[in-house]
Every structure is written in C-alpha cells, then in structure tokens.
Amino acid sequence: MSATTESPPSRNYEILPKADFNGALDGDVLEVSMGPQHPSTHGVFRMDVVLDGETVLKLKPVFGYLHRNHEQIAERTSYLASMPYTDRLDYFCSLTNNWAYALTVEKLAGLQPPERAEYIRIITAELTRLQNHTCLAGFLLMDMGALGTPLMYAFREREKILDLFESLTGARMMCNYMRFGGCRVDLPEGWLEQAKKVVESYPGFLDEFENLLSSNEIVMARTQGVGRLSKDLAINASITGPMLRACGVNYDIRKVDKYGIYDRFDFRVPLGDHGDCYDRYMIRILEMRESLKILNQALKDIPAGPIMDPKAKLRAFKPKPGEVYGRIEAPKGELGFYLISDGSASPYRYRVRPPSLINLTILEDMCLGQSVADVVVILGSVDIVLGEVDR
C-alpha cells in the first residue's frame, strides 16, 4: 500500500464538487483498490479509492473488464442481427433494450408499428421496469447488510414476471422479442389473464416489502443524507432516470417524448427532494406503483389486430442514408441509440448511449467525505449493470 498525501481533487469544472469533511481528516492516507471481484460492485468493476481512516478523499472508477466492442460487432452485421445482442447490454432489461433499438431503426426507416404491437411493447416494458426496480431494491438492501432475505423476496416476485416473459418470448432474460415495425410473435393464449394476475398480486408484495423496509430504522440510518446529489450537478452531469428524479428534476422521457403511445396512459412521475440514497430507493418503489397503473390500463385496453407493420422488411433491410438518435426511458435512465446509415445492409455507425455508464460520472462527487461503507450503498443506489457500462 502506498501512502500519499494528496489534497482532495481540484478540477476545472464549472460546478465543483462540494465535500464536507467536518475537519475530521487525520491519520494515514491509504489507497485501496475496491474490486473488480468485490461483491458490492455487482460485476467486474473497480474503484480506486484514497482513504483517510474511513473517509473517502478520492475515488476513480475503472471500467472495461467486460468490454467486447459491442458497437463494432454491430457495425459489421446487418441491422436485425444485432437485435439479440442488445439483450446483453443491460441483461436485466432486455425488452427495453430491444425497444430502444427498434424505435431508433423505425425512426431511421420511417416505420410505424401497429396498435397492438405498441400495447405489447408498453406492457413488456413496464413489466421489465417492475422487475428491474424490484431486484434493485433487493440488491440495495443486500449491500446494506440485509443478507439474503429481502433479495429472496424480490426474486420471488421477479420469477413471476420472468415466467410471463418466457411464455411470450421463449426466454427468461435474453428475450430478443421486438422487430423493426412490430413484435416477433403474438401473445399466447391466456397470457393476458396470467399477466393480470401478476399485476393484481403486485401491490400486495409492495406493501409487504415497504412495511418491512421503508421505515426500518437501519435502512433509514444507512441511506438518509448519504450520497447527496444536487439538482444542478445532476443536470449538468447528464444524470438520467430515477437518479435524476430523486433530486427533484421532473424529467421522464415517457412524458417528454411521448414515444410509443405513452400519451394515452394516466400516470404520474414521482419526484424526490433530497437526492440521497433513501430518495433513490423510494422513487423506485413509487415508480413501480405508477408502472402498475399503466399496466392495468394497458391490459384492459389492448386491441386485437396485426403486430407487424406491413411495410417492414425483415430480409434485405436497407434504410436510406441518414442519421438518427432515438431514446427511451429505460429502467436505469435514458437509453439511446445513435445510428448512421449509408444505404447498405449494416449500420455505418452504431452507438449505444448507456445510462449506467453516464450515471457513474458523479460517483466521486457523491462519495467524497463519506465513509467507505457508504460507498457500497451509494454504488448500489446508482443501479448499474456492467454489461451496459462496458459494452
């Protein structure tokens, strides 16, 4: 271990991170490498942390352990061939990844999915959001030391949703379900009834979960006031998703862009006001309840009809030259795809805007001055998936 006496980082940002050390800096300075095999990092991710006693002086995230150059692989194959590969970006939410990619290519080629396909997309996306947030709450509690039990509760509910995905798409996690201009297969018989049952039982689980945890003394002590993030810094650092809304910024792409048919549904955007870990946890619980509202409406209103745009071509798909940026509100934040077509069968440029990676920009600012045990909780509340961070 090397002992260094570096002062807290000073950088030429216009908004500087403000850290409050309470004048409690004494003792030896220690450099610790957390990860890449640390259980709290949710995958292969490393943080170079400089500590004074237990207080964080400096933190540098290190990525790339899972890098496989997804973008270049996609540039070498056809448009459709990278659809199954988008599943592997954020492997918890393969259906929203599919949707973001399908939506962008539809914008590029001028396709319009039919009504029923739009409903199926919304139902699957909101179910994905439900299971992602459920898992996140479980993992966050495990990071705080509630080993096993809350996570098992969360996984029990997630299983029900994964069963729905399996009967619809054939796979539990790697769904590969959306196509340009619609969806791959129609809903199987009895699927809607099964989905309604899951949706009806979900508020009961959320109540149980919240009873157990939301006002739990240890949870509150470990998360309230920890990892605070200010509104201005969050916007300037391009933070998106529940992280941004926990700071009190009203920005939900489902409401702003109204992609798909989100303008037909009645739901609200929950906002936090402290921007700490507790707010990030609560925002996700509240978002699940709003997702259930959308699901109830969508499962009731879904019409019969075709699920593919008749103009859509699966083979020899060559969009006109041009470029496009499309984005959706994925459970972790804004998931965007940037495509440039040169008129050939494969994209000239294929870029993924990963919410997990960009939400880590301010990890250091949130951790400065906190104790090293809180770093684990803060990282858990950011909600990262390394498949997406490293691509």
Binding site: L108, N236, K320
Partner: protein, 211 residues
C-alpha cells in the same frame, strides 16, 4: 423550438468569429445538425446552455464517427471544342474527399423539455491533426463519453480534465472503432487452429531446421 437556421444566425450574432454550417439529414427523422469550428465550440456550447430561449442544459449523447477517404463523383460541365465548334459537354470528375473524424453531441433542454440540437466538430484529418475542443467544462456529462471517443477513435479533446483510456487498457496502442482498424492475430486462443487461423498461425512458428 426555433429552427436550426434561426439558432445558427443567433449564435453568429452572439459569438464573435463563430463559423457554423448546417448539415442536412435526409432520413425520415430529419435531425439536421450544426457543424461547429473547434476554435469556437466551447463558446457556442456555453451560449446554447445559457441562452434563455434555448437552455440546452443537458448533453445527452456524445460520440465519435470515423469517415474514411472517399472518392466522390461529380458531374461538371466543361467547354470543349468538338468538330471545330465550341460545345458544352458533361464530364464526370472524380474528386477525392479526405477523411476526417467527427465528434457528435446531442443536446436537450431539461428546463424547457425540447431538443435535440445536434452539434458536430470535425478534425482536419485522421492522422496527426485530430484535436477538438472538449465541451466537458460546460457539460460535465460529456466527461466519460469524450474519454470513450478518445479511447475508441483517437479524438484528442483539448481542455478535458482527465483524458485517459476508459474501456481499453492503458498500454493499448490502436483505436479499435476506426474503420481501418485490423485486429491482431489471435491464433493463441485457438486450441486447434484450422483454415484461415492455421495460415495465420504458421506466420508465428519458428522456421523449420533441417539436419
């Protein structure tokens, strides 16, 4: 939101010496973009962020694009003497367009909920003059994404606080997202080399010694 032409003329009025160009986009999405000169890019970004009518406070997506040298065929009318009389004749001339690297920024407004405005910066060439202005001092969200563009495309962002490789390891030499990148031989990872891999692998064997 204003059209891109209006934004362009307002920037030119507000930022002295700004050289801008509107790049059209033919796809159905119609997301045209604004080409900014690297010397004034930071001032333009600051204007876009602080202007009360635009308030583009959120840099959503930052990325690089590689454009290789291409030959563009153009039809040019040339005056020629044909059969003693001067005539105008159409001829196709092949012009070489030198390659360049590009950084693309998608800016949105969280305050006013509009966007995107697409900014582009272009380098002079692909080899030695690959310097661009970093917009990280204005948009902190560009920090990791500009690092990624540096890592994968070799774009050098002047003014970036921490320009290091982000996904590839530190000792890596090349830029793997460039269009002319050739991956190194991976014969070592093939347990039983065959076909193309076998041929590649033979290059690495020591020459046979005959006794």
């Amino acid at each position: 939101m204003e059209t891109l032409e209006q934004i362009k003329s307002r920037i030119e009025a507000a930022v002295p010496g700004a050289r801008l160009e509107v790049i059209p986009n033919d796809s159905p999405a119609k997301q045209a973009s604004l080409l900014v000169d690297p010397t004034c890019a930071l001032d333009v970004a600051r204007f876009l962020r602080d202007d009360p009518q635009l308030q583009l406070d959120y840099a959503s997506n930052v990325t690089g694009v590689d454009w290789l040298d291409t030959a563009v065929k153009e039809k040019v009318k040339v005056k020629k003497v044909v059969d003693g009389a001067e005539k105008e004749v159409e001829e196709t001339v092949e012009k070489k367009r030198p390659g360049y690297l590009e950084a693309v920024y998608h800016l949105y407004s969280i305050a006013l909920k509009h966007g995107p405005v697409v900014l582009r910066q272009r380098t002079e060439n692909r080899t030695d003059k690959t310097h661009l202005a970093s917009l990280t001092p204005v948009y902190r969200g560009a920090e990791f994404q500009e690092r990624e563009a540096y890592d994968l495309y070799g774009l050098i962002f002047d003014g970036h606080p921490d320009l290091r490789r982000i996904l590839m390891w530190d000792g890596f030499k090349d830029f793997p997202m460039r269009k002319d990148y050739v991956e190194p031989d991976d014969y070592e990872y093939e347990p039983t080399p065959h076909d193309d891999v076998l041929e590649k692998a033979t290059r690495h064997y020591a020459p046979e010694v005959k006794i």
